[in-house]
Subunit: 107 residues, 2 copies
């Protein structure tokens, strides 16, 4: 069984957000984005692929298109293909986000 405990998979690094790849197939990719306070994921877009962000731990500011919102543990957002999106951990706690992108833009 392709089983991952997200708490065990969480990893951080100084200087920039840490990415932890979990699932890679043709249909999707999934992994963790782990932010120390102050770290960010610059605004970017995936051509032809949708994305989900699910906040596993902490909170931070999420930007999608021309909207910005502070999301917290338990929040899920959907980002349609080609829409610019990014994240800033503007909190004082660690932020852990589960991401799913479909289809896999790196596959």
């Amino acid at each position: 069984m392709d089983l991952y405990n997200l708490q065990e998979k969480t990893a951080f690094q100084p200087g920039k957000m840490a990415k932890v790849d979990l699932v890679k197939s043709a249909h999707m990719m999934s992994g963790l984005n782990c932010f120390e306070p102050g770290q960010e994921q610059k605004v970017h877009a995936h051509g032809g692929a949708d994305k989900l962000y699910y906040v596993v731990e902490g909170s931070g500011e999420f930007e999608v298109g021309d909207e910005k919102k502070t999301l917290s543990q338990g929040d899920l957002i959907y980002v349609a293909e080609d829409i610019p999106h990014g994240v800033v951990n503007n909190s004082n706690e660690r932020l852990v986000v589960l991401i799913v992108i479909a289809p896999n833009p790196f596959g």
Copy 2:
């Protein structure tokens, strides 16, 4: 922003597992499967679509192919296309599972 708080979206019903649809696009569908103790999702398969299960709350027995495992809050599993899978809430607490299927088999 297409934002969903999973705690607020959770819903249960007597008699059978409750499904809560959240996201539907060509590339993916996502929603919640909410199980009272004793409720189940019978073994089934999605032709040509991969699935993720993420345990948001509680625990239960997950079956994938010929394997069965008890998963708890924080566990994520990947089910490749065409592989039979199902869930039984054999615990005494409610079980809430986030699912993602890609591409959307119902789209």
